[in-house]
């Protein structure tokens, strides 16, 4: 496929790859051929006919679409002949006869391919005097997407995306010929985690997003490239800002990561930035109430506290949303407290707030995988938390690889969305309700066929915090033995990899709780973390924090954890800070600042440096640049250091793959069989999401999943029930999921109303028969 061929375009000799599409080969050589339906990431359909060119054939010249014609040796092409120009003009006239031309009120105006190409290639005037096609004006096809069929030019981009890429074909062509239109089925909305991509790739304003409608004109937008922090995949994005407000996030086509796509969460989870609930001032608890104080008083308070407590024990709980530079600063700060006056040398005091994290497979005997490896391996083996919900764009990458023939093996019970793609789904017969392997892997013949002596990429992580690492070790050891293995440690939250790279030795909340028993309960910093709400140890941590002398929280919203703090320092958020993040391939990518710091917020590192300096520590950084160049120098490969300078080079826009030694020290949770399998869903009650109106309701449905067997066991026949645990009970919708083993009930963890549930305790389930049952709480 990579053989070079030479062909002629408009009299010029060009080079391309054998089998490459003409439109793409021309683009690579700087010749732009107009198009509507063709999209680099979708199978070509040759429908719009805008990309017609003339080629020489044995029977004379012929008009062919360059989006479906492959380049071949000696191909002779004309892209600007009179015939081509006439055809392009014709196509544009045809497209415009039924187009409403309501550009003045259309979101797309100003960045509309139809508008632009009409200027460049279109006829001067319309000869159409007939009545245009009419459809009901915008109809909502989902909670976040609207469809205006009059504007649609039937390029099939949205329908192809939903069918080929995301695999939820819920939007389709209806009718035929001149009556053709795009639509959804009544009562079956375009409910997809990826619907926003169709809005982005629609070449006209037929699909629009509720969050952006009528908000801006494209020419007023300020734009910057950045990296999404919704999960650890690290999708490349473009941030669009007008009048200091984030209005839109678009996917950028990063060949190595997201290839242009985003999940709807990544795309629409930004309105919180301008929420009136944002923390904009420093709050200090005086008696029962919080008071607003200024920064120097705050620093003074901390300094006094540390002095007063005399050699206090200080611990840090960090979340996943900081930049590498911030983690680097946290590490410096924590160490400075450690080494000098306060703590003994060997003791680490930084804890990571995600119960899914474990020691992973990082040592030299393991090879770290990249997303490209997914396409290039023979098989992919997944055993981890739900990929579609936690790393949505990774789900797309897996789907793409499978479409191209890579085999997929999935171990149960959390990745049921992958089952239909999988060649081998190893559910209840192989994996116990406790997530232990029931059979020796070498006994599974189908598995053997797929992986033995093959190139295998595995995505491996704890399916639930309660899973024992032993089980994962068994799988990894087996794969190491029988296949040529590359590994993704599946830690899904934002910049988890940045945290574990830049903090010398990180521990988990399990360790936080146990170590606390023997410590002085002096000072705890929580930095962008809300363990009280999102951890298995939530209630324990709550008790601990209540018991602690002084709690300092750095965050962007008030939440269950900051409520317990004595001092709350408001921090900057995504788009308001510059820095780098590391994704699960160990690719370091740039996050850029395009918004001013709101209110009195500062970056996390700025607070820490100020505190350090007030304590007389020798930590001097004036800018995030300085932090960056120092942390970059600690990476192993010297030729590609992830400095801002390097990352800003055009050749590194896709990020820099580099590694650092990783040292984790995390133990399993000492607890057996979960009765409730608590899993994280894409949408839920994170403070960013509930403060982003367009998507705030998407995570509101209260449901549980269970198999028919389990349903029968509880004698439930309807699709609603009441789940009771101790004194609390919640009304839930029932979803049938026959891939779940008997007696295992799955429930979303990050869901309003579900915070009271304890996955280790027994529960009862009763069918809800009448409305009276609903009022119990």
């Amino acid at each position: 496929m990579n053989e070079k061929v030479t062909f002629t375009v408009d009299g010029k000799q060009l080079e391309g790859k054998q089998g490459q599409l003409l439109i793409e080969a021309c683009e690579d050589s700087g010749i732009h051929i107009p198009r509507f339906c063709w999209h680099k990431r979708l199978d070509p359909v040759g429908m719009c006919r805008m990309c017609l060119v003339e080629i020489d054939t044995p029977r004379g010249k012929a008009l062919v679409p360059s989006c479906t014609t492959q380049v071949s040796e000696e191909l002779i092409v004309e892209t600007e002949s009179d015939t081509v120009k006439k055809a392009q003009e014709g196509v544009l006239e045809f497209l415009l006869i039924n187009h409403p031309l309501d550009c003045p009120i259309c979101d797309k105006a100003g960045e509309c391919p139809l508008q632009d190409q009409t200027m460049a290639y279109g006829p001067g005037e319309s000869r159409f005097i007939e009545e245009k096609r009419h459809f009901e004006k915008p109809i909502p096809v989902s909670d976040i997407v609207l469809l205006d069929r009059e504007r649609c030019i039937l390029c099939a981009r949205c329908t192809r995306f939903s069918d080929e890429i995301s695999g939820d074909p819920l939007i389709e062509f209806i009718q035929r010929g001149n009556k053709t239109q795009v639509n959804t089925f009544p009562d079956e909305p375009f409910k997809s985690y990826f619907s926003g991509n169709t809005v982005q790739i629609c070449p006209v304003g037929a699909l629009t997003a509720t969050s952006y409608r009528f908000k801006a004109r494209p020419w007023d937008l300020k734009k910057v490239s950045s990296t999404c922090n919704c999960c650890s995949l690290g999708c490349s994005v473009e941030l669009n800002v007008s009048q200091n407000k984030m209005l839109r996030i678009l996917g950028e086509d990063n060949e190595f990561t997201n290839q242009g796509w985003l999940s709807d969460k990544g795309r629409y989870n930004f309105e919180y930035l301008h929420s009136e609930n944002r923390l904009l001032n420093i709050h200090s608890r005086e008696n029962e109430d919080y008071q607003t104080i200024n920064i120097s008083d705050a620093i003074e308070k901390i300094k006094d506290k540390i002095k007063d407590l005399d050699n206090p024990e200080i611990k840090f709980i960090v979340g996943a949303n900081s930049t590498n530079e911030e983690y680097f600063a946290i590490n410096k700060f924590a160490n400075s407290l450690n080494r000098n006056e306060f703590l003994s040398k060997d003791k680490s005091n930084v804890y990571f707030a995600d119960d899914h994290i474990h020691n992973g497979y990082f040592s030299e005997e393991y090879t770290n995988a990249t997303f490209e490896d997914l396409d290039n391996s023979d098989a992919i083996v997944v055993w981890a938390e739900d990929i579609k919900d936690n790393l949505p764009v990774l789900f797309l990458r897996i789907k793409k690889a499978v479409k191209n023939g890579v085999k997929l093996v999935v171990f149960g019970h959390t990745n049921t969305a992958l089952e239909s793609l999988a060649d081998l789904y190893l559910g209840a017969e192989i994996v116990s309700n406790n997530f232990e392997l029931k059979t020796s892997l070498s006994n599974i013949q189908e598995l053997k066929n797929i992986i033995d002596s093959k190139k295998v990429t595995t995505i491996i992580g704890k399916s639930t915090p309660l899973q024992k690492k032993d089980s994962l070790d068994t799988l990894i050891n087996h794969l190491q033995k029988v296949s040529d293995l590359k590994i993704f440690n599946c830690f899904s939250k934002a910049n988890t990899f940045g945290a574990i790279q830049h903090i010398d030795q990180i521990k988990g909340l399990n360790e936080f709780c146990t170590e606390y028993e023997n410590s002085n309960k002096n000072i705890v910093f929580t930095i962008g973390a809300n363990p009280v709400n999102s951890s298995f140890f939530g209630s324990k941590i709550k008790d601990i924090l209540e018991d602690t002398d002084y709690v300092i929280s750095l965050d962007i919203f008030k939440n269950e954890t900051t409520e317990l703090a004595d001092l709350i320092l408001p921090t900057t958020a995504f788009g308001e800070k510059e820095g780098t993040i590391t994704n699960m391939e160990m690719r370091v990518m740039k996050q850029n600042k395009i918004l001013p710091d709101p209110g009195s917020t500062l970056s996390e590192w700025e607070y820490l440096i100020m505190i350090a300096q007030s304590l007389g520590k020798d930590i001097n950084y004036d800018s995030v640049n300085e932090l960056n160049s120092e942390l970059a120098s600690q990476f192993t490969k010297t030729e590609a250091l992830p400095t801002f300078d390097n990352l800003n080079k055009p050749s590194n826009l896709f990020g820099i793959l580099n590694q650092k030694e990783i040292n984790l020290n995390i133990k399993d949770i000492d607890q057996d069989s979960p009765s409730l399998l608590m899993v994280k869903r894409l949408y839920g009650d994170s403070s960013t999401q509930i403060n982003s109106p367009s998507i705030s309701m998407l995570g509101s449905e209260r449901f549980i999943e269970l198999s028919e067997f389990t349903l029968d066991k509880y004698g439930i026949e309807s699709n609603v029930a009441t789940l009771t645990q101790g004194s609390s009970s919640i009304f839930v919708n029932i979803k049938l999921n026959n891939l779940l083993p008997d007696n295992l009930v799955l429930a979303p963890i990050n869901r309003r109303g579900f915070e009271k549930l304890d996955s280790t305790k027994d529960f009862d389930l009763k069918e809800t028969k009448n409305m009276k049952d609903l009022s119990v709480n």
């Binding site: 074909p169 009718q175 089925f185 079956e188």
Partner: protein
């Protein structure tokens, strides 16, 4: 409201005939229309489950083909041809007489759900132009008067089975070719009478 057992059994048989389930979509749509007179949303949901594609994918296919009706159709579907050979053989007169008699315009169904009228493209009866189909049973060599007689007869007789040969004998004229072989099979609903789909019956 899902399909009754009998129809589901038939559906499963049809699916069996094909190497891939989705191929049965067309026949299953006929099965839906045979019972309901059109492709109802309930049937779309049912079919989507049977062959494992989404509802909107079923709808997308159903709405592409003009013989799958999107609205309830009468007991007798009258399809008068208007393509070239019929057009130049005065099919417009036949069209007008049928429209006048039934009081229907194109693609309309009367209140009793008895007649649906449509003008259609070529039905392969060009040698016997102008031509009409009643539930896809062809009558050739029609005149405007005979067309009205045909409608009246349908109204009076309400035949359970529509048989081309019988209609041709009673109301037809010049034929595309000699039909020769006597035939008593016909359609029982506004879908083609075809035994594999159980929509064909023999008139005794």
């Amino acid at each position: 409201m899902s399909w009754e057992t009998e129809r589901l059994e038939k559906a499963k048989q049809i699916i069996e005939m094909y190497p891939q389930k989705r191929s049965a979509l067309g026949p299953l749509l006929y099965l839906a229309q045979d019972k309901d007179g059109y492709i109802s949303n309930e049937s779309i949901v049912e079919i989507s489950g049977l062959i494992g594609i989404t509802e909107v994918q079923v709808q997308s296919v159903a709405s592409f083909y003009s013989m799958y009706k999107q609205e309830p159709t009468g007991k007798f579907l009258l399809s008068v041809c208007k393509s070239i050979s019929c057009e130049i053989s005065n099919s417009s007169d036949v069209i007008n007489s049928v429209k006048n008699f039934t009081g229907l315009s194109n693609n309309e169904t009367d209140d009793e759900n008895f007649f649906t009228y449509e003008s259609v493209e070529c039905i392969g009866a060009c040698g016997g132009a102008p031509a009409i189909q009643v539930n896809y049973e062809t009558v050739e060599g029609l005149t405007p008067d005979k067309a009205v007689d045909l409608c009246k007869w349908l109204k009076e007789e309400e035949p359970e089975i529509v048989v081309a040969d019988e209609l041709q004998d009673k109301f037809g004229g010049v034929k595309s070719f000699d039909w020769a072989i006597a035939d008593n099979n016909g359609a029982t609903s506004p879908v083609p009478g075809f035994q594999t789909y159980d929509t064909s019956k023999e008139k005794k």
